[in-house]
């Protein structure tokens, strides 16, 4: 392994992703390489230093700005939903289902078209039992 390979392993060791064998090989190299020892020490120090560092405080003006923007976005969305005409609302019917419905409507209308002609209508006789249930005002229509 080259010196650079060992230096790469220092980075992986710091991230705790080396297995036992790789770690042993790295430490064997460190025992005889002062340059890598220094690199390791510095990288560990950087990690500790950053871990002890506090997160930055967010200014209150930013808090107010973010919350106001989100409230505004909410209001805009609500208004759009309220005024959306119903015919702009998408109906979620998958395309194959919609095509099947259209196909059935066409076939159905072709099959039952003769029933809708005047001659066929005259042949339809309403049974007397059913006729008695129809309001008298509508019975003339039959």
């Amino acid at each position: 392994m080259t010196h650079t390979d060992h230096q790469q392993r220092i980075s992986l060791y710091i991230d705790n992703v080396l297995n036992d064998r790789e770690s042993s090989e790295l430490f064997a190299h460190l025992a005889g390489c002062s340059e890598c020892r220094t690199s390791m020490r510095i990288s560990m120090h950087v990690r500790t230093q950053i871990a002890n560092e506090e997160l930055s405080d967010v200014p209150q003006t930013l808090d107010r700005r973010v919350l106001a923007s989100v409230a505004h976005a909410n209001a805009t969305l609500e208004r759009q939903t309220w005024y959306s005409p119903i015919w702009f609302t998408r109906i979620s019917i998958p395309l194959p289902a919609a095509a099947s419905i259209v196909f059935l409507l066409i076939v159905g209308s072709l099959l039952f078209y003769p029933l809708l002609t005047p001659e066929q209508q005259q042949q339809v006789k309403v049974p007397a039992e059913l006729m008695s249930k129809v309001p008298s005002a509508l019975q003339k229509a039959f």
Binding site: Q7, Q8, H45, L55, S56, V58, V70
Partner: protein, 169 residues
């Protein structure tokens, strides 16, 4: 998730939980308070508007950081549009630090990190400050895991070189 229904309470809870993390990340990445504030603002607004597109809520943290990261990089690229980026160089062109003026090691480390190029700084910040895993960093930055490992190595090596004079045996 209430946030998907536009709940302001749910938004505020998430905002207060992550705001310092996102703001610190943006601030360290840009080195500019005003830019960091804008980037943080845009990040949370985008989070609110696009939360419906996030299918796996377990990826929320990485997703949020990727929004912040992309926002910051858009701003930085806009600023650097006229200059050329040297992919091989680890250090930023601007080096405002004169290390010998500082005695505090913490200040020196912080200043050295600030002089790293954004591509290297971001992986170091995500790894060291936020303890993101390699695959999370890959997700956030849109790079492969091996690229993340390589950038981390280069960033640490460059930092070690710069800091060597302060760590003599």
């Amino acid at each position: 998730m209430d946030l998907r229904n536009g709940s302001m309470d749910a938004f505020e809870e998430l905002y207060h939980r992550y705001k310092r993390h996102i703001f610190t990340f943006c601030l360290k990445l840009t080195g500019d308070r005003s830019l960091a504030e804008d980037a943080t603002h845009d990040t949370f607004l985008k989070m609110h508007l696009n939360i419906g597109t996030l299918n796996d809520l377990s990826l929320f943290r990485s997703w949020l950081f990727s929004i912040a990261r992309n926002g910051v990089f858009r701003q930085l690229h806009r600023q650097q549009r006229n200059g050329s980026l040297d992919e091989e160089s680890v250090w930023s062109e601007e080096t405002p630090l004169t290390l010998t003026e500082h005695n505090d090691v913490a200040t020196i480390i912080s200043a050295c990190i600030n002089t790293l190029k954004p591509e290297y700084k971001e992986v170091l910040l995500l790894r060291e400050y936020e303890q993101h895993s390699y695959d999370e960093i890959a997700l956030i930055t849109g790079n492969s895991e091996s690229s993340v490992k390589s950038r981390l190595f280069k960033a640490r090596k460059a930092l070690a070189e710069k800091l060597k004079p302060y760590f003599k045996d």
